[in-house]
Structures are given as structure tokens and as C-alpha cells.
């Protein structure tokens, strides 16, 4: 059973990382949530949103949400398998392509590919924003926190950690739960 979970984690995390075009991990959050919550029942949607928040509030690539999904699904081994699976295929690809990047970077199809995937990525990131907020915002005050954090990040150039820290402190006072 556990071997099955690890294989599934490895496969899903590699595939997701290879499909994460144009906006990093936020484009694959809808699929990661679908797999972890709806398909494999490793956690509920609220736990997923909590884990996502922890990944956002931690240093390092936000992609490390896969590490937390692996941790919840199959413990420490699961966390390491998920992290390696997400890293190795994309790293190999970058390793190979970076060797001949100078030759392809002026080719006429490069802007076409970049221009073509950009709106798809934005659509997927919008879906992530909707799914995370929907499962996080189960009280009116939480909706206000989401809106305030969005406005803070959109209108100021300050580090988003300020918004996360302020929200965490507010939550610690006990007013939201």
C-alpha cells in the first residue's frame, strides 16, 4: 500500500513539475489539489490550503508544497520522494537545454511558444487563486483577510511575507476560528 502511494507521488510530482510552464508551481496547484484531495484522498481541501500557506510562508521555492503533500500522504519518505520527483526531471531537462540555449534563443518560434503559453498559465493561476481561497475562506473575516492580502501584494512592492505575518498574528489572537 505504502509502495503504491510512493509510486503515485513520484509519478504525479514529476508530471506536474514538467507541466509547470510559465508561472511556476501556481499553475499546477489545481491539479495537485485535485490529485491530493479528490483522487487519492490524502487530505481535505482545507488541509491542502493550510499546507499551501506553509509553503508560501517558508523560504525557498514555492514548489516545496509537493514536499508537504508527500509528508502528509506518506511521511518523511513521501516528502523526499515527492521533492526529488518534482526536481529531477525538470533539472535534467534544464541541464540538457542550457547546453545549447544560445542556439535556440533567437529562433522565431521561441516568442510564439512563450506568448502562447502565457495566457494558459494565467488562467491556471487564476484557478489556483480561486481553489485555495475557496477552501481557506470559511468565515467572513477570512474572506476579508484574503482580499486585504491581495490588495497589499497588488498595490505595494513590499515583501508578501508582511501580509502572511500579519495574518498569522491576527489568527493567533483567536478572532478567526
Amino acid at each position: 500500500m505504502k509502495g503504491g502511494v510512493l509510486t503515485t507521488l513520484a509519478f504525479q510530482c514529476s508530471m506536474l513539475a514538467l507541466l509547470a510552464f510559465g508561472g511556476g508551481v501556481n499553475t499546477v496547484v489545481p491539479e495537485l489539489q485535485r490529485q491530493a484531495v479528490d483522487v487519492h484522498h490524502w487530505m481535505d481541501a482545507r488541509t491542502f490550503s493550510d499546507l499551501f500557506a506553509i509553503a508560501q510562508a517558508s523560504p525557498g521555492p514555492n514548489m516545496l508544497i509537493v514536499c508537504l503533500v508527500g509528508l502528509k500522504a506518506a511521511g518523511l519518505t513521501g516528502a523526499l520522494v515527492a521533492t526529488l520527483a518534482a526536481c529531477v526531471p525538470t533539472c535534467l531537462l534544464t541541464f540538457v537545454v542550457s547546453g545549447f540555449w544560445d542556439r535556440i534563443r533567437n529562433s522565431p518560434w521561441r516568442p510564439v511558444v512563450q506568448g502562447g503559453v502565457a495566457p494558459v498559465a494565467v488562467g491556471l493561476i487564476s484557478a489556483s487563486a480561486f481553489l485555495i481561497s475557496k477552501s481557506a475562506d470559511h468565515a467572513p473575516l477570512l474572506i476579508l483577510i484574503t482580499l486585504a492580502a491581495a490588495a497589499f501584494c497588488y498595490f505595494t512592492k513590499r515583501n508578501p511575507l508582511w501580509a502572511l505575518g500579519a495574518a498569522a498574528l491576527l489568527g493567533l489572537t483567536g478572532v478567526v476560528s
Partner: protein, 191 residues
């Protein structure tokens, strides 16, 4: 725009050793709250002067072109250019080691204590704010795209949102439908 050996030739610092590479990316990783790229630029270009600004921009273009997190790709591409596969390995291990340990500690604490009293409220508020961060990211990316090419961008953004967010299609299916349409529109828009 020479990219092969700029850092050694154009008056910047000498190429870092494997250990320095490891330390540089470790420094980026622990500084990088809420997005690693500004820190990567600050450390690689401004503080350690391992890369020229144009060099950083063109390497970043490669990393944005390839799938996977940009900062992970950047560590691989930069490490590979300096020291081949050993450089790539030194950079990626530097980038990932500390964050993985930190996130595992935080995740374990959450799984063990996250439902207790006010911590429950703290994580609820944190998740709500994290939702807000992606709302802002989505808006920041969508608005310039919609201004530039409204006719092609809006339908694809909406379709991506509906298929992935509301209908919960699997990602490969969403990509299989939308990527070819996006590429076709970008190709026609170019000509």
C-alpha cells in the same frame, strides 16, 4: 552577448568554486521568502557579481521558457555553465537543502499541533492570506496580457480558469486543449 564565460572576462568577480556556488545558492534559498528571483538577482548580480545583468536576464529567459520553478532551473543552468554537472549539483543542493529541512519541520509541527486552539486560527488566517497572494499574482500577470492582446488573451484565461478551477479537468487535458489554441493564436498574432 557572450554568455559562455562572461563572468570571468568582463571585470566581474572570478568564477566561484563549487563550494562557493553551493553557499551562494544556499544564501539565496534562505533569503527567498515569497519569491526567490529578486534575491537571486540581488545575490548573483549585485552582491557576489558572478553574473552581468544582461547575462542574468538571458539565463532567466531560458529558465522561464522551460517547465519547472524558474529558480531551480536558474541554479542548474548557472551551475552547469561554470562547472558542468558538478556545478549544477552544487547549486541545486545549495538551493534545496535548507528549505527542505525548514519546510519539513514546519509541516510536521502543523500536522501534529495545527488543530490545537489558537494555532488552528493562525493557520486558517495564514491560508486565507496565501490565497490573497495568488489572487494578486494572477491579477499582476493577467492585466498586462489583457492590455496587450485582449482578443486572444481573455478567452484563453477564462477557459483555463473554468476548465481547471470550476470543471476540475485534469491538467494534461487542460493543456492538451488550450496550449495548441494558445500557440496558434500567438503564431497568427505574430505574423
Amino acid at each position: 552577448m557572450a554568455t559562455q564565460s562572461t563572468s570571468a572576462e568582463e571585470g566581474s568577480n572570478p568564477a566561484p568554486s563549487l563550494f562557493e556556488l553551493y553557499l551562494g545558492f544556499a544564501q539565496i534559498s534562505v533569503s527567498a521568502f515569497g519569491g526567490a528571483l529578486p534575491w537571486a538577482r540581488r545575490i548573483l548580480v549585485e552582491r557576489r557579481k558572478w553574473m552581468e545583468p544582461e547575462d542574468f536576464a538571458s539565463t532567466l529567459a531560458l529558465c522561464q521558457f522551460l517547465p519547472g520553478p524558474n529558480i531551480v532551473n536558474l541554479s542548474i543552468a548557472f551551475g552547469n555553465r561554470l562547472h558542468g554537472w558538478r556545478g549544477a549539483l552544487a547549486a541545486i543542493v545549495g538551493l534545496m537543502a535548507a528549505p527542505v529541512v525548514i519546510i519539513l519541520i514546519l509541516g510536521s509541527l502543523y500536522l501534529r499541533f495545527g488543530q490545537i486552539g489558537n494555532l488552528r486560527g493562525m493557520f486558517a488566517a495564514l491560508a486565507a492570506a496565501a490565497g490573497g497572494l495568488i489572487v494578486a499574482t494572477a491579477a499582476q500577470m493577467a492585466i498586462p496580457l489583457i492590455r496587450k492582446t485582449p482578443v486572444t488573451a481573455i478567452p484563453i484565461i477564462v477557459a483555463g480558469f473554468v476548465l481547471a478551477g470550476l470543471l476540475r479537468w485534469p491538467l494534461p487535458a487542460v493543456m492538451a486543449v488550450l496550449a495548441p489554441i494558445g500557440l496558434l493564436l500567438a503564431w497568427r498574432g505574430r505574423a
